[in-house]
């Protein structure tokens, strides 16, 4: 059975979903990610969906769940690489991804996460982090 690898890169976690997901795999991914965020203290999660030619409500829910759990653990989530046909379909489907930011590709996504991280670190007051 395949597992989805989670990469650690500069304090961020990077996941590339390339396989047609089914329930067990999705559950597994959510569990592992939550674990890893906790373990590594990662401040950001980057989900690369550039290989997905389909995103249905199940995958959408999974992504929203990951973002919610990451948020609880004080990490931001960015989804990158959504294909145009997928984006158009999602809009028609009426699916929105609450609490999930998006970027065009991995580079931009990482830049987004890193600048968010940087902004927070610049703040003198630790309490101010909770306002972000």
């Amino acid at each position: 059975m395949d597992r989805i690898p989670i990469l650690k890169l500069r304090g961020l976690l990077l996941v590339s979903i390339q396989v047609d997901m089914h329930d067990r795999l999705a559950m597994q991914l959510q569990d592992e990610l939550t674990q890893k965020i906790s373990e590594t203290g990662a401040r950001g999660v980057l989900i690369d969906i550039s290989s997905l030619d389909i995103v249905d409500s199940f995958i959408g829910r999974m992504i929203a769940n990951i973002a919610a759990m990451a948020r609880v653990l004080d990490a931001e989530t960015v989804v990158v690489g959504m294909q145009p046909a997928v984006a158009i379909t999602l809009v028609e489907l009426g699916l929105n991804l609450p609490g999930v930011r998006t970027a065009l590709n991995v580079d931009k996504g990482m830049a987004m996460l890193e600048s968010a991280k940087r902004d927070l670190e610049d703040l003198p007051d630790a309490d101010a982090r909770h306002k972000e």
């Binding site: 047609d20 249905d56 409500s57 829910r61 046909a85 379909t89 009426g94 699916l95 929105n96």
Partner: protein
């Protein structure tokens, strides 16, 4: 309406949703759909296939290439012998993002296809037919 090609697929486990998606993709390409239309059809099929398994207790998905001169299309018929849906109207308006128990993707799937028919009887089962024309 003439069916030029037909295939029935089993819907028992989550892995079958993947099979149905791949089959619908292939047939949508064969029917000459644009990339966006393919994606819409496959996504709609995925939604309903999941429903059939999660709420219908499993069933079948029958793919059909249809011709209604001069247009051609792809139709998928989902059938299950599950508990059925007591209030179809409500089921169609449920939004999966609200995160409540049902979260059926029926309303969304309807927007992705040209024709959508659903019939259901409590205690007997549900039948959903989705069609997209080229």
């Amino acid at each position: 309406m003439p069916v030029t090609k037909s295939e029935e697929l089993e819907l028992r486990s989550a892995a079958d949703v993947v099979s149905v998606r791949q089959a619908v993709r292939t047939w949508a390409i064969e029917a000459g759909f644009s990339l966006v239309d393919q994606t819409k059809m496959v996504t709609a099929a995925s939604e309903i296939a999941r429903n059939t398994i999660d709420y219908g207790g499993g069933g079948t998905a029958t793919l059909e290439l249809i011709v209604e001169s001069p247009r051609r299309g792809l139709r998928v018929v989902f059938e299950d012998k599950g508990p059925g849906i007591s209030d179809i109207q409500q089921a169609m308006t449920d939004h999966f993002t609200t995160g409540n128990g049902l979260g059926l993707g029926l309303g969304g799937a309807k927007r992705l296809v040209n024709e959508f028919h659903i019939s259901s009887r409590v205690g007997e089962g549900t039948r959903v037919v989705i069609t997209r024309w080229k």
